[in-house]
């Protein structure tokens, strides 16, 4: 679904990522780990075409990214659900409206998909917070709302950038369970995290591959995880 082939990305002559190859196939589950500043977010941004590599190629759903125009990129992003580290909400809109926004941007009428929105709100446990503004939510609630928004268009791939960064352990496990459930539905999941406990907890639930970013290179992590 998403393939990165020998990617190099950098700026001002310094390569942040070098020779990265990665394939996210249907039903795959990956953790991306590494120290802060290693380039985890950068790698995720390359996956959803928010950044253009200085070398190498990216193929998304069989189409080389270099051939895509702005409208094509917009269309492909509807098939990639992203949970951003900062959640990226429209603060003047309610949680429900934020979750429904991808429907509107895709030309669908949110009113006709009210049942799906309610279902998602219930799935992430935010039914009673549907009319709240994002600023009124706790860290965990924001992450769950972001996950619901990422899933409203039923994407094929889910990318999550530090989804448990601002939440307690109990909430981290709850979010992990939600992502594992998605994976069982056949969706490819890539989670960028530096939380080793979360990765260990996941191993009992799902067959996950753990990738480690170190000095701009991507390694398969060893059995120590």
């Amino acid at each position: 679904m998403i393939e990165l082939n020998d990617i190099t990305y950098g700026y001002d002559g310094t390569a942040l990522l070098s020779g990265i190859s990665l394939s996210l196939s249907p039903g795959s589950f990956h953790f991306l780990t590494g120290p802060s500043g290693a380039g985890k977010t950068t790698l995720l941004r390359l996956c959803y075409l928010d950044l253009t590599p200085s070398r190498g190629s990216i193929t998304v759903f069989g189409v080389p990214a270099a051939r895509l125009g702005r409208n094509d990129v917009a269309k492909l992003r509807r098939r990639v659900g992203v949970v951003h580290q900062d959640c990226g909400f429209l603060d003047h809109m309610s949680v429900r409206e934020n979750i429904a926004m991808p429907l509107a941007t895709s030309g669908l009428d949110p009113a006709q998909h009210a049942a799906e929105i309610d279902e998602l709100l219930a799935w992430v446990g935010l039914t009673d917070r549907a009319e709240a503004r994002p600023a009124e939510l706790s860290g965990g609630e924001r992450q769950r709302a972001a996950l619901a928004r990422a899933l409203i268009l039923s994407p094929d791939v889910v990318l999550a950038d530090e989804p448990t960064g601002n939440v307690d352990w109990e909430m981290s496990l709850r979010l992990l369970t939600l992502l594992v459930e998605l994976n069982r539905m056949g969706k490819a999941v890539l989670i960028a995290t530096h939380d080793m406990n979360l990765i260990r907890a996941a191993k009992s639930q799902v067959q996950a591959r753990v990738l480690r970013l170190r000095r701009g290179q991507l390694d398969m992590a060893g059995a120590d995880l």
Binding site: D50, P102, A104, T105
Partner: protein, 298 residues
């Protein structure tokens, strides 16, 4: 493009919601459009009024002329009769008549006051000549006057009519220029307000791009907001301007030149073009600014 404009105006409840409410920018845009539309109405009124004035001066003065008879008192009546007889046989002259002492007194009254004894003063006798649409041969008439009434001088108003008409014509162009400048200033101000709003909402645009919104979807929401604000403000300014023009004293009441500033008949419809033009200006200015801002977001 017409379809794009109609789609933008028709609106989309969801798209409308994506632009955060921005009280100050909204008020600034509406106020700017209203103020500019108010000024545009005056510039338009000035332009139309001067155009009418130039035409009126040109037509009325072009079809009338004066013969001044400066003969000694004992010859004045004879020369006046000779001039009138000559004019009756001059092709291109529709009518002619000698002004009576009361009319001449009325002409001099603003300078010398009432009860001026014009009969005893060496004031020239004036003969008013009204031309046909074809007009007369001024050079030929001058030669005949010189032969038959040596004290008669033809003044066909050309000497002072020309600069007046030229001045009115220039005022007309000035009015149109002012109108164009006002519209350009309005476009610039709306563009600045739009760019400021777009810069403030860069994060919103970025989030929308990341969840799969096309540029046109995002741009349309901003364009619609600014077009409606600008057109609404301009409508208010235009109506206020029209009301102010309507409230100006009429020509009959004051008799001055500036009181001719205004609209007549179907001319009152002309200012109603200002709000759509403001809306169209805002549409293009915001659209270009929004698409330029979006190009910097992946």
């Amino acid at each position: 493009m017409f379809r794009e404009i109609m789609q933008t105006l028709a609106g989309d409840a969801q798209a409308d919601r994506i632009v955060p409410p921005s009280g100050f920018t909204a008020r600034l845009t509406a106020f700017t459009a209203a103020a500019m539309a108010f000024l545009a109405v005056f510039a338009l009124a000035l332009s139309l009024a001067t155009h009418r004035l130039a035409e009126r001066w040109s037509t009325s003065l072009a079809q009338s002329s004066t013969i001044r008879i400066s003969a000694p008192l004992d010859q004045r009546e004879a020369q006046t009769r000779a001039v009138l007889a000559l004019l009756q046989t001059t092709p291109g002259v529709a009518s002619s008549r000698a002004l009576d002492p009361a009319e001449q007194r009325a002409l001099l009254e603003p300078w010398f006051g009432p009860d001026l004894p014009v009969e005893t003063l060496p004031i020239p006798q004036l003969v008013e000549v009204v031309e046909t649409t074809e007009g007369y041969d001024a050079q030929g008439l001058r030669l005949r006057l010189a032969a038959e009434a040596p004290g008669a001088i033809l003044d066909d108003h050309a000497r002072w009519r020309r600069p007046l008409v030229r001045a009115a014509g220039r005022l007309h162009v000035l009015g149109l220029g002012a109108l164009a400048l006002i519209l350009c200033a309005m476009a610039a101000m709306i563009t600045l307000a739009a760019m400021s709003a777009l810069a403030a909402n860069r994060d919103v645009m970025r989030v929308l791009r990341l969840i799969g919104a096309r540029d046109t979807f995002i741009a349309r929401a901003f364009v619609r907001r600014f077009t409606i604000r600008a057109a609404g403000g301009a409508l208010f300014g235009t109506l206020a301007g029209m009301l102010a023009i309507w409230a100006l004293p009429s020509v009959e009441q004051a008799g001055g030149f500036l009181t001719g500033l205004g609209f007549t008949g179907a001319g009152w419809l002309a200012p109603l073009l200002v709000p759509p033009v403001a809306g169209l200006t805002a549409f293009w200015a915001t659209r270009l600014a929004a698409l330029r801002a979006l190009r910097s977001i992946s």
